[in-house]
């Protein structure tokens, strides 16, 4: 084999190893690029009307403009406040209540019908009522976020208490631990993974609440931005809003994953978790 052919073959095989090693990333980036290019080309060549479909470069430009003018940041602040206030209130209510309901059987019996009923209703269906009660300002969104987030968190905390390892309870009891001590040292640490699962679900529901609440009736916020832009055919702005929401969703889940890993560090082995 000539030197040149040999080198070419080696280069090809190196390329193949590189591909084999990073095929997930390469195929993923490849398809996304093809998709974006196809979209841009279709919009520029007039195959589709960019008034309806927008185009990647138009979205970037609109995003930059909205950011530079400070509009985007203002809407993000409103939505962020609604999200945080509702989510924190949900945490404040759901975790203590979930622990109590899991610990006291009778309390669970009393509250079960209400928890089940709320769980069955998509909470956003309550929006017309919530708007009647709280108006179209920030509070109606906080309430819908709260209602969305509180149920999954409550149910997960509750099941965390229920699934406490029976052997641990027996050991603690036979060594004479008081009920209070059992609660703090056995039950509570055991619920942490469940609470985190609940927190992740709740974040999704909270985001849904913000978006739907603002689509339905609002005066500011990302959902409001999307609605107004949509009804005035500013498709680029609609996409900027949707992308902001996507980024917020990804960030919140990522943040919770990190927190979870931190809280889980003391666990001796990677038990399988639900």
């Amino acid at each position: 084999m000539s030197e040149e052919a040999w080198r070419a073959a080696e280069g090809a095989s190196r390329l193949r190893t590189f591909y084999a090693k990073h095929d997930a990333l390469l195929i993923g980036i490849g398809t996304v690029l093809v998709f974006l290019l196809g979209w841009e080309t279709a919009a520029r060549s007039g195959v589709v009307n960019p008034l309806f479909t927008s185009a990647p470069t138009r979205i970037v430009r609109a995003g930059y403009r909205l950011w530079a003018e400070g509009d985007l940041w203002r809407h993000i602040q409103v939505s962020g406040t609604e999200f945080l206030a509702g989510y924190l209130m949900a945490i404040g209510v759901a975790i203590p209540l979930g622990l109590a309901v899991g610990w006291y059987k009778r309390l669970y019996f009393c509250l079960a019908p209400f928890i089940d009923a709320l769980n069955a209703v998509p909470r956003v269906a309550l929006l017309p009522l919530i708007v009647i009660w709280f108006g179209i300002g920030i509070w109606s969104k906080i309430v819908v976020v709260f209602l969305g987030a509180v149920i999954p968190l409550l149910i997960n905390t509750f099941s965390g208490v229920k699934i406490t390892e029976v052997r641990f309870l027996k050991v603690a009891r036979s060594f004479g631990a008081s009920e209070l001590r059992i609660f703090w040292t056995v039950v509570l640490p055991g619920t942490v993974p469940f609470i985190f699962t609940g927190l992740k679900y709740a974040a999704g529901r909270a985001l849904l609440g913000v978006v739907v609440g603002e689509l339905y009736a609002a005066t500011a916020g990302i959902g409001y931005l999307i609605t107004v832009a949509g009804s005035s055919f500013q498709t680029d702005t609609v996409f900027v809003g949707i992308l902001s929401i996507t980024i917020a969703g990804v960030l919140s889940v990522e943040l919770l994953n990190r927190l979870e890993r931190r809280f889980d560090r003391w666990r001796p082995d990677a038990r399988s978790r639900p």
Binding site: D23, A112, V121, P122, P128, G249
Partner: protein
């Protein structure tokens, strides 16, 4: 004769549950009728009896059926297409790594976005008729169905795969006889999650822009302070969602028993 105490202890859950529900209903009814210290206008809060009366009236006049029919049709069209597409793509992506890599970014992005945020776009594209709701239901349900189908194929028991391969099964046979049956519980979980998302899609789609449907009825009733009607709509939605999830859970249990039997026999 069993004592009252014995009866209570045996049915504690039901007794306590019903007692609290009854208590809340009485307090609620009293608030709008002025039984307690202050009175709240019924147009803000409605009352259990008023809600029941409105429900009976809506069904008796047949007014509700048109809305239920429209919402049901939207749900059915969107959900069935989502199940077909989600399962097909999910099985393909679970089986072929490359398909998963190609589809992954799109489904991750969709999964992170509440799909109802796309409503303004969808309305722009397909109008405020039934198709915008079908599309938003489809987008809502397809993501959990797909993700669970992928997980179902990926978690196929490697021992079973090895056995099937060493006895010379062809790849399609391994897929149909080993992978697919193993994925069924995951598929059902995906369907169950999908039902929830589809319900959200219907409600929000109809709240946002529609001309008929239960969500539309709720919006109109809310905007005209017919609080009773709002509650009837909300209860109907809860019942529909609950019924579907309950039937899926039953199917799941059935499938589960079949699986356990086979596992025990093997």
């Amino acid at each position: 004769m069993p004592s009252a105490r014995g009866f209570y202890l045996e049915n504690e859950r039901a007794v306590l549950g019903m007692a609290t529900v009854a208590f809340v209903l009485v307090v609620w009814e009293g608030l709008t009728r002025g039984w307690w210290l202050w009175r709240i206008e019924p147009i803000f809060l409605s009352a259990p009896t008023a809600i029941a009366r409105t429900a009976v009236q809506l069904f008796a006049t047949g007014e509700i059926w048109a809305d239920l029919g429209v919402s049901g049709l939207e749900f059915l069209l969107g959900f069935v297409t989502a199940v077909v597409a989600g399962i097909a793509l999910g099985l393909a992506a679970g089986w072929h790594r490359q398909t998963a890599f190609a589809l992954g970014p799109f489904f991750s992005a969709l999964n992170a976005t509440p799909r109802v945020a796309l409503l303004p776009l969808i309305i722009m594209w397909v109008g405020i008729g039934i198709w915008s709701k079908v599309l938003v239901v489809f987008l809502g349900a397809v993501v959990p169905v797909y993700l669970n189908a992928v997980a179902g194929v990926r978690t196929a028991d490697p021992r079973l795969l090895t056995v099937a391969r060493s006895f010379g099964s062809s790849t399609p046979r391994v897929f149909w006889a080993v992978v697919l049956p193993g994925a069924v519980p995951f598929l059902l979980t995906g369907l169950r999650l999908g039902v929830g998302r589809a319900m959200v899609g219907i409600v929000v789609g109809e709240l946002y822009a529609a001309t008929a449907g239960v969500g539309f009825m709720i919006t109109v009733a809310g905007a005209t302070f017919q609080t009773d009607k709002v509650f009837v709509g909300v209860i109907l939605i809860a019942l529909a969602g609950g019924l579907m999830i309950e039937s899926l859970t039953r199917i799941e249990r059935r499938v589960e028993t079949w699986r356990v039997k086979v596992g025990a026999a093997a």
